[in-house]
Amino acid sequence: MDYFVELFFSGLTRGSIYALIALGYTMVYGIIGLINFAHGEIYMIGAFTSFIVATVLSIYGFPLLAIVVLAGFAAIIWSSAYGYTVEKLAYKPLRHAPRLSPLISAIGMSIFLQNYILLAQTSDFLAFPELIPDLDFMEPYAHVVGTTDLVILATTAISMLALTLLIKFTRIGKAMRATSQDRTMAMLVGINVDRVISMTFIIGSALAAIGGMLIASHIGQINFMIGFIAGIKAFTAAVLGGIGSIPGAVLGGFVLGLTESFATGYVSSDYEDVFAFGLLVLILLFKPSGLLGKADIQKV
């Protein structure tokens, strides 16, 4: 039973990271219909930023809590700046181009950012400082769920709640929903669509940065390639849940994380990806629009 619970929590942890990244994919898709393949790199940049800031601050002997908060904010701001710039440079000029062009541009951006970090930083794996200490009251449960798992789960839950409130109730959230439903009409009622799109990229990037920092301190090492596989997995999660749907991305992330975790625990870690992508194929066979996605009804 303990083993099951342990796998369950490790699945939730993985799943929440996938969900954080998948939200960025699904929001951007919902608004401009683009699969932003550079999104995984934004996550990787978030991890690197928090690594650099955390390392520097710990040299100067800052307290742990201050390091976590400052590194987190630095990662969010820096990643958001990258997300914003990528949109302005690589996607905005192609807004009215055929759909394939921004997609290619996104893949190009992804390759560019990977190599840029490779050259600017290093190709080695870097040991990420342990930011989250094991808390005493977690001691009795440490064999099934670690403190980091708990922190990751809590942070993810708070981020998602904040996002939901933002989209549902605020002025900018309404503008985002309106833009995703009918961009021309949104402009005609006075919404600055360019600004809404920028905002979407910024929010998505901020979530990815949080994910990047959390997972890096959980796993303990980072590398310029981590964005690639995480991006692919999160994209899978977004498609699984129904791309364009925000609850779908969260659900997809958790389903994917749990599947991987149980496959690793009960079968073999070699089969982790087989199960993950097998599940994707199965769901798309029976529900092509994903778990919570709405089928596009083409009117003739």
Binding site: L188, V189, G190
Partner: protein
């Protein structure tokens, strides 16, 4: 005599070799209902698209003269900027935000008249809360005017056809336009819904709203308009009061064609 609220001079729009609009002049005075009519394909909707910034006209000027403010040239502005300057429109086909509630649809219209942003949403300071309260208040007031207040929390897609049309007008009004553009507001309505629409537009006019509308329903046009512009093949072929237009031979020819023996 004050300057007309909308002044269109020499407007032209070409798509490749096709001239959809040709040297078109049009004026709307403050508080006036003006109708733009013409056979299908005459360029009426193209005209609306040029004026609201969806298309960039290839020649001419579109000037908006808000009361007691200097005039604004609308050419080369984006649609959201045009809305901000004070012109709102509806479409021939219904383009509501179907997955939002009726109230939210109107609140979206208030977007360009409000300011709060991310920081306000996080801090929830007094200004933000007050602004949100006012937005809801004003939006609800508009719904009352449209007779939709009972359905405020329904999804827009669940409204009846006539109610959806009214909601579109309400959303446009929420942007506080000096000039309201209606593209075939009565299209697809039954006679009773049309009668209600006429009443509504009349009421808006009495409150001082200037309106420019495209319409095929001649009963509505004749009953409501102070002046009518007639277009054919992208040109203006006549302008005048409903009475003058009804008896204008050029207009009759454009609509019915020339008699074989004439």
């Amino acid at each position: 005599m004050t300057a007309p609220i909308l002044q269109v001079k020499n407007l032209g729009m070409s798509f490749g070799g096709i001239r959809a609009l040709d040297e078109l002049d049009l004026e709307v005075n403050s508080g006036e209902i003006v109708a733009l009519i013409g056979p299908n394909g005459a360029g009426k909707t193209t005209f609306f698209n040029c004026v609201t910034g969806i298309y960039q006209p290839t020649q001419g000027d579109v000037m908006l003269n808000p009361p007691s403010r200097s005039s604004i040239r609308l050419n080369n502005l984006k649609p959201n900027q045009v809305a901000e300057k004070g012109m709102a429109r509806t479409f021939q086909n219904i383009r509501l935000f179907q997955n939002m509630t009726v109230l939210e649809n109107v609140m979206i219209g208030r977007h360009c008249r409000t300011k709060s942003f991310i920081l306000g949403a996080i801090l929830r300071n007094k200004a933000t809360r007050e602004e949100e309260y006012q937005t809801i208040e004003k939006s609800y007031h508009i719904l009352q005017k449209m007779g939709l207040e009972k359905q405020a929390n329904d999804l827009a897609s669940n409204l009846s056809y006539g109610a959806q049309r009214r909601l579109e007008i309400g959303r446009a009004l929420a942007t506080e336009p000096f000039l309201l553009l209606l593209d075939e507001p009565a299209a697809g309505m039954n006679p009773q819904e049309t009668a209600e629409l006429i009443e509504l537009i009349n009421k808006l006019q009495q409150e001082g709203q200037s309106i420019l509308l495209i319409e095929h329903d001649m009963k509505l046009v004749m009953e409501l308009s102070h002046r009518i512009y007639v277009m054919d093949y992208g040109r203006r072929i006549a302008v005048g009061t409903p009475e003058q237009i009804r008896n204008n031979p050029v207009v009759i020819k454009a609509y019915l064609g020339e008699a074989a023996d004439a």
